[in-house]
Symmetry: C2
Subunit: 326 residues, 2 copies
């Protein structure tokens, strides 16, 4: 879906909510002479937001936009976030406004699909245990699982979920894709529990919205097979983390891998670090070499559309909380 | 290639060279009433070999056949090994004899292809470091590599090498296959160094023969890119292990994974356990749940062909040391 938006007046101001060092700022050299670039951090965002025609949310780990937006003053007409999810910035006031919100749709699809394949294969082939035994200099042959012919259920039918499904299918895994509503090639939410009950691999690639928050809870882990593995590369709050730890401890499921967490960075005293059969990675599934440059280039490209008064791509449905199909 | 072999006389004796406990014996219930089954271990093989019409080498880690065969007495007319490689049993006397040798061609193709994909993805996505950081409860974001668009060189164009190439291609990796001689879809050995020089992933799936022993040596590691990773799922002696350790230490290549070793099990004091960037696994790449049953069933099936006087499949070219193409 796309939406027509007016082009910028001369002297457009682009405000960048910077990421914390050492993360580099976006490369916006392509906008030289076309826009005034202002920078803000979490502390200065409230003061500078009224000056912005366009806001680039470069620090996609911050929820400063959601906190600051409802305050007084003019608001930018366009907000772009350098992330696939928009849960960190959406608030009722932004949703109700005329401001257009766009996301980084496309940049993360293939990297995340590969990362999920890496996790599925690592779990099937018992790689974590192999590395543990290597540290102990211990030669211990084990039988592992064949993935061809197993079943996956990928929850989330956006471009990331679809790329994950394509990659798992290419590896010979029978893969079902589940979205909000049934459409060709995509199961609706009504089929979810039935598909979870027979999946060897459950992959969560859903957007975080009011409808999906906490959707992976004790009941859903209880539906899964004892041999099933659960993988989350969506958003942490899609999972009730205590329920997952309990499900692993009680052997309701065989293992899991989380790349995202309700609170990031994960606290050093979190029980997730040591939950049995759980692989923890620091929200990096989509971040392959060059990803920041790609995100910057994507914004510059969208800016060109905006500048020319053409319809923007990657426009988020602010009520639903994601860019609708296909 | 297949070869006509005479059927068994009544009262055929099948001798099984058993694996050491706790590895289970083959399930040969399908031969009940059709053959007399004798068992031998390494110590008793010399005494029992003259009694055998057929030898099943169930302990494919043993080189007892190679040692015992040249001794005196009648020899079986058919030897089957429950492995893809035949390097552990071939000797000049067996090669010169009329005895037919068959192998377990087919059983390991898909499992090993998946295992190689697991290693490529684990190395690309820095999973060993992720598991290390998890043990330290340390949240450390890193950028990883995208595998789509990278290049692989798979050395060994038998069914295992071809399955590996198919799987890597399915993951978007540009993959070249190298065999002894050039044929459609397969590069000849003359292209090897050129392909190694531009590969991101070098996978060794070659049979161990006099022509291939030690083929991955200092010179060949020197040809590879500093960013390249080397994976061996063939036989340990294809690699000069000291040269690999040196190449890793000097950063001639970025990393490696070995599933096979010149001496197995790998000694506790081997420098390979701790070589920088080396992932060690205990010769298990092809051994997925049910593999022993599949190996037993495959022998029973071949026995049916032998019994009926039909040509055997999986017949090894004893001079070359593998089952020739396609």
């Amino acid at each position: 879906m796309s939406e027509s938006t007016p082009g910028p007046p001369p002297g457009t101001t682009v405000l960048v909510l910077d990421a914390e060092p050492p993360a580099p700022p976006p490369r916006l050299g392509g906008l030289t002479g076309r826009a005034r670039i202002l920078h803000a951090d979490e502390a200065s965002l409230a003061g500078r937001l009224p000056l912005a025609d366009v806001l680039l949310v470069w620090d996609f780990t911050s929820d400063a936009v959601r906190r600051v937006w409802p305050g007084g003053g003019p608001r930018p007409r366009w907000v772009h976030t350098a992330s696939a999810g928009v849960d960190h910035l959406m608030c009722p006031e932004l949703a109700a406004s005329d401001t257009v919100v766009t996301n980084a749709r496309g940049v993360f699809d293939q990297p995340i699909a590969e990362y999920v394949a890496a996790l599925v294969l690592a779990l099937a082939k018992d790689l974590p245990r192999t590395l543990e035994l290597q540290r102990e200099r211990s030669w211990r042959h084990r039988e592992t699982r064949r993935i061809a012919g197993t079943r996956a259920c990928v929850v989330g039918s956006g471009p990331i979920g679809r790329a994950v499904a394509r990659t798992l299918k290419a590896l010979g895994i029978t893969t079902a894709l589940v979205g909000r509503a049934q459409r060709p090639g995509v199961h609706g939410g009504d089929d979810l529990d039935r598909l979870l009950a027979r999946a060897d691999w459950v992959v969560c690639a859903a957007p975080l919205t009011d409808a999906t928050r906490g959707m992976f809870d004790a009941r859903r882990f209880g539906v899964m097979q004892p041999s099933a593995h659960f993988i989350n590369i969506g958003r942490g709050a899609l999972v009730v983390e205590d329920d997952l730890v309990a499900a692993l401890s009680k052997r309701w499921i065989a293992g899991a891998a989380l790349d995202v967490f309700a609170r990031e960075p994960l606290a050093a005293d979190s029980p997730l670090w040591t939950a049995p059969g759980l692989l923890v990675s620091p929200h990096m599934s989509g971040d392959t070499v060059g990803w920041r440059d790609e995100l910057g280039a994507q914004f510059v490209e969208l800016y060109g559309e905006w500048e020319a008064g053409r319809p923007l791509r990657n426009v988020v449905d602010k009520e639903r909380g994601y860019v609708p199909g296909p």
